[in-house]
């Protein structure tokens, strides 16, 4: 049987990652956003305002759940308690799909809370594919997996990342979340061709795109989600859009978060790369560049850039 485009999932349009800094703006102004993606871990255990806000938003907008803790590539056992919470929240907010990353976050019971890379080998492929099938059976829906930004590759990998991702998607019959910025970041870090990466994927399995900004350290890029999307990433997005025919597109902005209209305007720029005839995009708001590498003298005084998403909310106290 032929796999339908996007595994049959709808093209939701242009969405924004829901962040606590924007809760009040969204509830008050109900901006004309096509959809929201939420970080699952910010809500699965919440008995407070975050979940209360999410319920209200889910009444008005399509919601997609995006996790950072599935650890699908880990050799630790799957956490079915966590999966149960995901399933419950997905039902509660009518999540259109559930996604996470092709990575592992820890072993031996520990969690680094990072999206760590796997070696691309036949053994890893078999291991991850089996776990994806288990998760899908449990969640009773196809899982959508994202290519993370990565900063190392393993010498014993026997295939490219795009071959691994493609074969995994077929073997596990899952969807793909193509993070275009991550393709750019990883390709720069691993001396790869990002265009070849994107052209080599099974495009009919791509359910969603991610866009984000990153930090440029000259020798490497870090996926910081703290700035505008750079032009080369937009060009890759244009290619990805053409190859897929268009899928749900989501902008992530997780650090130095600007006001909501700035974030929303950023994702709306995607229309200019979809072949639509539109006026030129507005000039960028004045935000201190994250893409300027620190000067050597200042480098030691600059805190390290943290790859995002960082999933932690600050409490509200009277």
């Amino acid at each position: 049987m032929t796999t339908p485009p996007r595994l049959g999932y709808a093209n939701l349009g242009l969405g924004v990652g829901l962040r606590a800094a924007h809760f009040d703006h969204i509830l008050r102004h109900q901006p004309a956003v096509d959809w929201f993606e939420v970080i699952s871990e910010n809500f699965v255990d919440s008995g407070g305002r975050p979940r209360h806000v999410l319920r209200q938003i889910a009444e008005r907008y399509p919601v997609v759940m995006h996790g950072v803790s599935l650890s699908i590539g880990s050799t630790d056992p799957l956490d079915f308690s966590y999966l149960g919470k995901l399933k419950k929240l997905a039902a509660e907010v009518d999540a259109r799909w559930i996604s996470d990353h092709l990575c592992w976050t820890g072993v031996l019971g520990s969690n680094t809370h990072d999206l760590l890379p796997v070696p691309f080998t036949e053994a890893t492929l078999a291991h991850v594919a089996a776990r994806v099938r288990t998760v899908q059976d449990f969640l009773e829906r196809p899982l959508v997996l994202e290519n993370p930004s990565s900063y190392v590759t393993f010498a014993h990998s026997t295939m490219s990342e795009w071959e691994f991702v493609s074969r995994l998607a077929e073997a596990a019959d899952c969807g793909l979340l193509l993070d275009v910025n991550n393709v750019y970041v990883s390709s720069f870090n691993h001396d790869l061709d990002p265009d070849e990466f994107i052209r080599s994927l099974p495009h009919h399995r791509i359910v969603q795109f991610h866009l984000a900004g990153h930090a440029d350290y000259v020798t490497h890029l870090i996926d910081t989600h703290d700035h505008h999307v750079v032009d080369p990433v937009w060009e890759l997005y244009r290619t990805a859009h053409q190859l897929t025919g268009g899928v749900s597109t989501l902008l992530e902005w997780d650090a130095r978060i600007p006001p909501f209209p700035v974030v929303h305007a950023e994702v709306l720029k995607a229309k200019h790369f979809m072949g639509e005839r539109l006026p030129a995009p507005p000039p960028l708001p004045d935000i201190a560049p994250a893409t300027t590498p620190p000067a050597p003298a200042a480098a030691s005084r600059t805190p390290p850039q943290v790859p995002h998403p960082l999933h932690h909310l600050r409490p509200e106290v009277a």
């Binding site: 871990e41 699965v44 255990d45 919440s46 008995g47 407070g48 305002r49 975050p50 209360h52 803790s69 650890s71 880990s74 050799t75 956490d79 966590y82 976050t105 820890g106 072993v107 031996l108 019971g109 520990s110 969690n111 680094t112 809370h113 990072d114 760590l116 796997v118 070696p119 080998t121 890893t124 900063y151 190392v152 590759t153 393993f154 010498a155 014993h156 870090n189 691993h190 001396d191 000259v218 020798t219 490497h220 870090i222 030691s300 005084r301 600059t302 805190p303 390290p304 850039q305 943290v306 790859p307 960082l310 999933h311 932690h312 909310l313 600050r314 409490p315 509200e316 106290v317 009277a318």
Partner: protein, 326 residues
Amino acid sequence: MSDRPSRQPAAALPRPPLDVVQQWFQAVVTHPAGVAAGASSPAAQRLVRLDRGSLEQLVRRSRRLTAEQRLEIYANAYYARLLECLRDTFPALTRVLGAEAFDSFAFDYLQRYPSRSYTLYRLAESFPRFLDETRPEQSPAAGTAGPAWPDFLIDLATLELAIAEAFDGPGAEGEPLLAAADLLARRAGGDFAKARLAPVPCLRLLRFSHPVNAFYSSAMAMRSRQPVEPPGLLDTRAETAAADLPVPDPGAEHIALSRTDYVVRRYPLTPFEAAVLAALVAGATVGDAIAGAAAASELPDDELAAQLDAAFRRWTAAGFFRATTS
């Protein structure tokens, strides 16, 4: 984490199995002394015998970075991410210590209590306990009377952790709560003393050795005007801010902490009120709670009665109890 023993024999390169690769990777990038020390550590060496100069047998170099430099990106991010999370959970403590000193405590904490949960919301849950476990011995020369500086830090950490937990834990928004009129009706009916009150799940009773509640408010007000920058920025403002925020003298303080309309709120209590509330939360009847607290108080009965009257009005207004009583 990095010194966790493994039953796996050291793997032969170049194709160690996935579990070995992952255990090795974790041991290396979470090592407190960095990647080179991590790779040389017994935990890593037991898994994959690679010294610092041969890391590229397992991790490829790029055109611009060595394998060690690439691994350092993960090592730096691991601590930066978790320290940022802990600073977010303990903003007042970060203010009083300064970010540099706070990070030093937090860094040591992560060695003893690495995250073992899928959620970062549990990362901080043992931090007050860690401060207590690692508190310096009080010098005999300093005398033994009264709480010391570490008690203040532990109190402040305890308050901030309770705030974080109350903020996102279960609450009672949208549920019917006990109103002052309900209590008056029970009193008029003559069965108030036999009632047991059901506390809302977000209610927490805290006892401190220092008046940290007002200190917390001052620190947060200062933070909104003048944020503490992460360490590494040579932020002299943090030192100035700490000087503007003197540590209070020791003194017992009772605080009830709860949440209404999804906002955490703090309520100072007298010792008598705290004793009554603690008994009620423990399941005592109103009569037994009051009698027990009164017996332990040296205040005259009319003073206690006046306190009680005002206290029950405040507690019902603050939504401390569910509507259901027995």
